[in-house]
Symmetry: C2
Subunit: 201 residues, 2 copies
């Protein structure tokens, strides 16, 4: 028995999303089929509205409402314009904002350097970052790319470029996660936590 | 910082799907934002086409292409019309078809009896099943609802109704899953496997 084409098509579309395999895709599709028509329409409309309703900030490349040149953070006068935090994705901005512990500005690279996947500096918003820093009002650039191989390599690359511009570059601390358990920490994290140990006052 | 409304809307719509929490929903939304526009459009179109392109078979209530009265299984002349396999959901039909070991027809209940969730016999396709059996050409009804509390209760209820119509009712066997490990089987499954043991020839 072959599934009717419309549901087959939806299953295939769902399967293209990250972390959704064919089983989850068919579960979601059949759920939508069974649930009220509103839910499928709601999701469909939200998908259509996604591209038309959003744009990227022309300064930091974070996501913003379409029609605006700059995002909320860039236009805010409450934020410290002399510090830029460089992240990989807009979701990372959200994570940092949730801490309520950062009051500077951002710069979203939209990816990381990855020779394997063919991502070179020109594919990221790197020249735009260097332009921003080159304008001279930046005191510190916090490199907050992910603590992964690619994230580290990208931070290293940016650090070299930025230091030649004479700006201070920092990297987020590595160590044990808060609330974590020493016993379950992987050896690399533990090694980093050891290396980064600090005196108690 | 509040997210732009279009992406917030998409995250909320995704969150309403089963098994998708707010974190996965935002990951999917940002993935769609970053990926080619085609993917979001493809998914959107598939969602719109889902309801307009599908219908339920008027005999067994399995899903079929819209405009048709009956599904492929019901119209097929190769299938044994004297056996009906009763399942909860269209996905269960798919699972049984994948075995290539069943050549009878189906009946999809679209749920299970559940007093807690307020699902009574009138909410399921039970009277339609009794009508089909009442027409007299049915030899056996296989009750293939899930091996859960609700599935068992529904099978029990159906069995009583069907036996008064004089039709043979059977239930799928319970026991150890093929390729499973005795050591990891839960006590209930093991108990069922013991009770259902059969002589080797």
């Amino acid at each position: 028995m072959i599934l009717p084409e419309p549901i087959q098509r939806l299953i295939e579309a769902f399967s293209k999303l990250p972390g959704i395999g064919p089983k989850t895709a068919s579960r979601l599709s059949f759920y939508l089929l069974r649930s009220s028509e509103d839910l499928a329409r709601e999701l469909g409309e939200a998908l259509y509205g996604l591209r038309s309703g959003t744009a990227f900030c022309q300064t930091c490349f974070n996501i913003t409402v379409s029609g605006r040149q700059e995002c909320e953070v860039c236009t805010s006068t409450d934020r410290d314009g002399s510090v830029i935090c460089v992240v990989e994705e807009p979701l990372d901005v959200l994570a940092l904002e949730r801490t309520s512990g950062y009051s500077g500005k951002y710069h979203v690279l939209h990816g990381v350097l990855s020779p394997i996947e063919g991502v070179s500096p020109e594919d990221l918003k790197i020249s735009e970052l260097l332009d921003r820093v080159g304008e001279g009002e930046i005191r510190e650039v916090i490199l907050a790319t992910n603590p992964s191989l690619e994230g580290d390599a990208t931070a290293m690359y940016l650090s070299q470029k930025l230091q030649s511009l004479g700006v201070k570059t920092t990297r987020l601390a590595r160590g044990l996660p808060v609330g974590g358990d020493l016993e379950y920490a992987d050896p690399n994290t533990l090694l980093r936590a050891l290396a980064g140990r600090h005196e108690m006052n």
